[in-house]
């Protein structure tokens, strides 16, 4: 029984690992192949099956004039837009979530839960519905095709996620903790900063991760709201595609574009395994 259990455990772990890692390995090897090795039948092992070269990677940094796509600037644009929008969304979202969780709002029939739902409803709408208003809005304030415009739009898209996660999280933090902080001499702002926030780090990390992921992978709005001045990574990667699909440079760009997410995941995992998240709030 015990042996069977161990066998099954490792069996599924191996299957799952292959499932997760194989695409990365495939992309990694493909990124070093040339036209011949991709189209000339299945090849796996570099130097044995095919002769690796850096052509796929070079395309990513070569300027368009030399036949490349130059993703360096879009890469930093994407990083900047995602991080800024996520940070602002988390700050605003956490503050509004705390207010929604602790104070009672009432405007006619609109109450706390309705306001929370209003935030979430922004994400229920199909993006296509939002695209035209966003386009008109940004063009009316002259922010089309600019980083600032993108950040504004991403805040609208990401803040609901932060509010949604944090409202739920704050509702689970006993109110008595805030009250005790008040009794112990904190004013409401100090109670929030010194007591509530330090106990909400797990929630902040989850909300932050979701914001970064959703911001980083967005193609639709980046595509519609920018033209030539500013470009984000997902849009640029799609621009790689031409009459002959360049699998090698597509693979290379896929790898560089998931890199930040993997780094974030590793940092969070380190933090998790230290046990800093468990049991903060019972």
């Amino acid at each position: 029984m015990n042996k069977l259990y161990i066998f099954l455990k490792y069996f599924f772990i191996v299957v799952w690992t292959v499932f997760v890692v194989a695409p990365f390995l495939w992309a990694l090897t493909t990124s070093f192949k040339d036209f011949q090795s991709v189209n000339g039948g299945v090849t796996y092992i570099p130097w044995v099956d095919f002769e690796p070269n850096l052509e796929g990677w070079k395309v990513l940094i070569k300027s368009p004039a030399k036949g490349g796509v130059d993703i360096i600037e879009p890469y930093f644009n994407s990083l900047f837009v995602t991080c800024t929008a996520s940070l602002i969304s988390i700050i605003l979202g956490t503050l509004s979530a705390y207010a929604l969780s602790r104070y009672t709002f009432k405007a006619g029939f609109v109450k706390n839960n309705d306001i929370t739902f209003f935030f979430i409803s922004q994400r229920i709408m199909p993006p296509i519905v939002l695209s035209i208003p966003f386009f008109l809005f940004l063009s009316s304030i002259n922010l089309l095709d600019s980083l600032t415009g993108l950040i504004v739009v991403y805040i609208v898209l990401l803040m609901p996620i932060a509010v949604w996660i944090m409202v739920d999280f704050f509702n689970k933090v006993p109110r008595e903790i805030d009250e005790t902080a008040l009794i112990d001499g904190c004013n409401p702002y100090q109670a929030f900063l010194k007591v509530v926030l330090p106990n909400s780090i797990p929630g902040l990390i989850v909300a932050g991760m979701f914001c970064i992921i959703f911001g980083w992978i967005d193609f639709f709005f980046a595509f519609i709201l920018t033209f030539t001045e500013v470009q984000l990574l997902p849009v640029k990667i799609v621009a790689l595609n031409s009459s002959v699909t360049p699998w090698w440079s597509l693979s290379a760009s896929a790898l560089v574009s998931v890199a930040p997410l993997i780094i974030v995941a590793f940092i969070v995992e380190r933090y998790l395994s230290k046990g800093n998240l468990s049991g903060a709030i019972k």
Partner: protein, 359 residues
């Protein structure tokens, strides 16, 4: 420095949480608020702390309008029934928190925290995480945090209710020692509880609260001996006092075909709708007694609670030993009738064996 409240009312929904509550708490005294769950005890404590603002009424402390002072400037301390501590801080930091908030010198903080730890018996635990402590220890930490502040008003909201039996007994004993050690010299100590035994043991001034209304105020002994109404008698006894509808005539108490000779303090009451109150401990098993049927027998600790029935009359008897009964068994009981209370039809006390309102 007295804490005086006048006609405090708080009605956030259809029901009064506080209904015209007035009191006058003097420094150096222990006040126990006794009431069932949802009777408004927590609301009252939160109002004193400043976490709730009453709809009407006023609170004065030291002659000043207390309602105008925000919570964080009131210098009160509060221990909740849930063990509330700051989960992100260790034991030492938890207790030091209110002192750090006052920007007190680091070395003085250390000294005070160590003193507080010592008085709650947690020396050596200062570097532990809160989550590593048991419930009783967590409650000690929050008690220490409220002691270290030297607050003028110390509020304890059913601090023992979430602990298991043994710890409760132990901590209650320690509370009593702490309170009597002169900690309360200039402190007003307000302790809320649902447990009549706790009330009697703490032996302070008792405020009986029900549905947000103050029913009776007085020393614990007085509440126990002369509850001014049926409700107080119910709230201040566990198990609740037995209430028997009876008629007194010709010096006999009559109910369910039983005649018991009326003791002197009850003999003159001949009105209709009279209710006789008798504590469950004032009824005993007796071979020559009156026959009742067992409805339920529960054994709790070393005592047996018998739920008995005869006709429409239901009573609870507590016996100081473990006895096994089956449902529908017949038992014979005797009433220690000279310990009986009488209440008017409107619930007010008519006569008590301890001399309240005789006649």
């Amino acid at each position: 420095m007295d804490l005086v409240a006048n006609n405090l009312s708080y009605k956030p929904d259809d029901q009064y949480h506080l209904n015209e509550v007035s009191f006058n708490f003097k420094e150096g005294n222990l006040y126990t608020i006794l009431g069932r769950t949802l009777s408004g005890k927590t609301t009252l404590l939160k109002t004193i702390a400043g976490l709730l603002t009453p709809d009407s009424g006023e609170i004065e402390f030291d002659g000043k309008n207390f309602l105008k002072v925000p919570v964080w400037e009131r210098n009160v301390a509060m221990v909740y029934q849930q063990f509330i501590n700051y989960p992100h801080l260790n034991v030492f930091e938890n207790i030091a928190f209110p002192l750090k908030q006052r920007k007190i010198d680091q070395s003085i903080i250390k000294e005070k925290v160590m003193d507080a730890l010592k008085s709650v018996g947690l020396l050596g635990y200062e570097n532990r995480k809160i989550q590593e402590l048991s419930g009783g220890q967590q409650q000690r930490v929050s008690l220490a945090r409220s002691l270290v502040k030297n607050a003028k008003i110390l509020l304890l909201d059913e601090p023992l209710v979430n602990l298991d039996y043994k710890l409760r007994e132990q901590l209650r004993e320690e509370f009593k020692n702490l309170f009597s050690k002169g900690l309360a010299d200039e402190t007003i100590l307000i302790y809320s509880t649902t447990d009549p035994r706790e009330t009697m043991e703490l032996n302070g001034e008792v405020i009986v609260l029900d549905e947000g209304k103050v029913l009776q105020v007085g020393p614990a002994k007085e509440i126990f001996e002369n509850p001014n109404s049926l409700k107080v008698a119910e709230i201040s006894n566990d198990p609740p006092m037995n209430i028997i509808e009876a008629k007194i005539s010709d010096n006999q108490i009559r109910f369910e075909g039983i005649d018991v000779e009326a003791p002197q303090h009850l003999s003159k009451l001949t009105e209709d709708g009279l209710k006789i109150g008798l504590r469950s401990s004032d009824i005993e098993l007796n071979e020559n007694g009156h026959e009742f049927e067992v409805e339920l027998a529960e054994i709790s600790g070393s005592e047996t609670l018998l739920h008995l029935k005869r006709g429409d009359t239901k009573i609870i008897v507590s016996i100081e030993e473990v006895l096994n009964f089956k449902i529908h068994d017949k038992v014979k009981i005797n009433f220690k009738i000279n310990r009986a209370y009488a209440f008017h039809a409107n619930g007010k006390l008519a006569s008590s064996p301890f001399g309240g309102l005789n006649g």
